[in-house]
């Protein structure tokens, strides 16, 4: 046992030493690489450029007023959305992205364990629908749906402590980092096992209907998740019972390393809704105006007792499945193309064109959000790490004479 421990320590030291050399070369004295080696980028020269590329793209992501090809200009009007609401939506989008980019950086600096699932590029799919929800509406997110929480108003402190596994996290650090949830905001805790949230949100929608509550549910899944049996079982049941639910598929073309063509023979996943006899539509998930109008209608349908809607949002994640995934299964051209379709600059451009936003206001939002994110990070870093035995509780609600949580030790 003792021998094993020493061996582990030596390994750790060796890893740290390697990381130091690499980061020095990369000119990132604080960034020490991931905590696990799985899928890590190649060492030496190649890693240097990989990290530099990651940083450059993060900076690009934060530059939300940059230009983009004219073909990606947004048009139309956001139905029933006041100017103030449009600005609030922008702020939540920027908040999601800024938090995400900050966490990526902190992860590379080794400030928290585990990994991080970046959502950068996909934020519109979550935030735009979440901001329209009432507090009692139910959200069933997957592990990448940071924007579902931010969009619904969950404080960044709760999210940062969740990433850091600290005591102030909603789960006290016992669950799994980056699986954002918050009981007060009715964002359920996502399961790492794909599509459990889909089924649970379907159950919540059933509960609302049975208990005659006015609330609705929203479930999120990816393109890969549509291959799971629970996708079908949930949609099918919701179709039969006309449940108050909106199903959102974020089709980012890749299920971890699996291309869409190996997930399904379909091109547009919204066709799946035909099988359940409720509306299915495909929208550009990076077009805030289109996403707003589609989700607004779907939510109204759900709230009006007309039943479910499936919305496929075509989008893209800029970075790997998690931050230990270099995503080298995709071509750089593909990534660059999608960076041009970034939802944030397109929305910012549209707001400016419509005289809803000026540069001064945008600067103020960005400044405010940066400060907010820093406060959340400080809060998380100063939040205590949980006591080692803090997980030894809450297995059951009730007590049982034969149950001994420590029986094995």
């Amino acid at each position: 046992m003792a021998e094993k421990k020493t061996q582990k320590k030596t390994e750790k030291k060796r890893k740290a030493a390697t990381a130091e050399v690499v980061t020095e070369a990369a000119g990132e004295s604080q960034e020490t690489g991931g905590t696990t080696g799985e899928g890590a980028a190649p060492a030496g020269e190649a890693k240097e450029s990989f990290q530099a590329l990651q940083r450059r793209r993060e900076e690009t992501a934060l530059d939300v007023s940059r230009g983009f090809p004219d073909k990606y200009r947004l048009s139309g009007e956001m139905e029933g959305c006041s100017d103030a609401r449009k600005i609030e939506l922008l702020e939540r989008l920027i908040r999601t992205r800024t938090f995400d980019a900050r966490m990526r950086r902190l992860f590379r600096q080794g400030r928290f364990e585990g990994t991080f699932y970046s959502q950068i590029g996909q934020e519109a799919c979550d935030v735009v629908i979440a901001i329209q929800l009432e507090k009692a509406d139910f959200v069933g997110p997957s592990h990448r749906d940071l924007g579902a929480s931010v969009g619904k108003g969950v404080p960044l402190e709760a999210l940062a402590t969740q990433v850091y596994n600290r005591v102030d996290s909603p789960d006290g650090g016992r669950y799994t980092a980056c699986h954002y949830w918050h009981p007060e905001f009715w964002v359920m805790q996502p399961s790492t096992s794909i599509m459990m949230n889909w089924i649970a949100a379907t159950g919540a929608a059933f509960g609302f209907k049975m208990l005659k509550k006015k609330s609705v549910a929203v479930a999120f899944g990816g393109d890969g998740a549509t291959a799971h049996g629970d996708f079908h079982e949930g949609c099918n049941f919701a179709g039969v019972h006309r449940l108050p639910i909106v199903y959102v598929i974020q089709n980012n073309l890749w299920a971890e390393s699996l291309p869409l063509s190996l997930t399904t023979a379909l091109q547009d996943l919204s066709h799946r809704a035909d099988a359940y006899d409720f509306p299915g539509l495909t929208v550009d998930g990076n077009d805030v105006v289109a996403v707003w109008n589609a989700t607004r209608k779907a939510l109204a349908r759900a709230r009006g007792g007309e039943g479910p809607t499936l919305i496929e949002m075509k989008t893209y994640r800029w970075f790997g499945h998690s931050d230990i995934d270099p995503a080298d299964y995709r071509s750089e051209d593909e990534v660059e193309d999608w960076i041009e379709r970034d939802p944030l600059p397109r929305y910012v451009g549209w707001l400016k064109e419509n005289d809803v936003l000026d540069d001064g206001e945008l600067d103020a939002i960005q400044q405010r959000v940066r400060e907010e994110v820093e406060r959340a990070v400080e809060f998380a870093e100063s939040s205590p790490r949980p006591e080692p035995d803090a997980f030894l509780s809450e297995v059951f609600v009730h007590e049982y004479p034969g149950f001994d949580i420590r029986a094995g030790r």
Partner: protein, 327 residues
């Protein structure tokens, strides 16, 4: 009072508890219009309507998994898995989600869900209608499992399960549905405490630990041995998870000998867990090796002749108890 059957007790308790708590709903295959393949849920649709009595599509993962969201928003779900053998598609939802959700959320949400699972052999059902698959769930943290062996406990454990805030797998034995009867006055709210085993027969020479249909075979075996001067203490487990370790230890400390009897295959079965507990906690009180009399390490056979061999019978149980008692 006219005696009622085990399945009547289940049906009556469902009626009573659903009338008592408007947040309860029942979901399962053929449970509504048809009243259940065994008629355990007959009359419920008429009494509570299609909003609360759901005839589910053939979607076991949904049946189990939807309860998590429903429970979160204030329901008390009563899913039924038509045959326990069909629980495998629901396994992921039960094991990874339902059972762990209270722990995962640091105690924020309770999961007051009772999943009824008709189980057990002796009904000529073949491999998909006869299994005892409770052991699949034995090391799942957060899950409770009860298995009534009597009419009274069929009602009492079901009522306790429905009122419990922990997720409960309620194993109802198919062979007991109509083979046993007992007096159970209407309106008497029988509650059997979850987590406690029951000493169904007192004895001093050897402890038999069992549950379900085999409790009755074991009691018959005990009567037989009594004539030969061997007094068997019979423990009806009632709750399979968490096991009532104190009651088991107390009995075996007294008799010094133990035989576990169950239908499931021996390997990885509950008998192994009990034997291990006895070895760890009660070794110096033991006067004989702990014996496990179980189903075979095969799948469950269909033909009556094979099934009769598979199920431990009164004579076999008596032999195992005698051998252990005389060691």
């Amino acid at each position: 009072v006219a005696p009622i059957t085990y399945i009547d007790a289940i049906n009556r308790t469902l009626h009573e508890e659903m009338a008592r708590d408007e947040t309860t709903f029942l979901i399962g295959e053929d449970t509504g219009i048809y009243g259940g393949v065994f008629k355990a849920t007959r009359g419920l649709l008429e009494a509570f309507g299609p909003e609360r009595i759901i005839d589910s599509p053939i979607s076991e993962s949904l049946i189990a998994g939807m309860t998590v969201g429903a429970a979160m928003v204030g329901c008390r779900p009563l899913p039924e898995i038509q045959f326990a053998d069909f629980i495998s598609p629901a396994f992921d939802q039960i094991v990874q989600q339902l059972a762990r959700y209270h722990w995962r959320t640091n105690g924020t949400y309770a999961m007051p869900v009772t999943i009824r699972c008709p189980w057990g052999g002796g009904v000529g059902g073949g491999v998909f209608h006869s299994q005892s698959n409770e052991a699949w769930f034995m090391n799942v943290p957060g899950l409770v499992m009860v298995a009534p062996s009597t009419v009274r406990d069929a009602a009492g454990l079901l009522r306790a399960a429905i009122r419990s805030d922990d997720p409960v797998l309620y194993w109802e034995h198919k062979k007991l549905y109509r083979s046993i009867k007992d007096e159970l006055p209407e309106g008497e709210e029988v509650v059997t405490e979850i987590g406690r085993a029951h000493v169904a027969r007192e004895g001093s020479d050897v402890t038999a630990i069992t549950f379900g249909y085999l409790l009755h075979e074991t009691l018959k075996a005990a009567e037989k041995l009594s004539g030969d001067g061997i007094e068997v203490e019979v423990i009806d487990l009632r709750t399979l998870l968490p096991l009532d370790t104190p009651t088991i230890l107390e009995s075996v400390a007294k008799t010094g000998k133990a035989v576990v009897v169950h239908e499931a295959p021996k390997v990885g079965g509950i008998g192994g867990e009990i034997a291990a507990i006895l070895a760890e906690e009660c070794f110096w009180e033991l006067d004989a090796p702990v014996k496990r009399l179980t189903g075979f390490n095969t799948s469950f056979p269909a033909a009556k002749s094979m099934e009769d061999l598979y199920m431990p019978g009164v004579d076999e149980i008596a032999d195992a108890l005698r051998t252990t008692a005389e060691t």
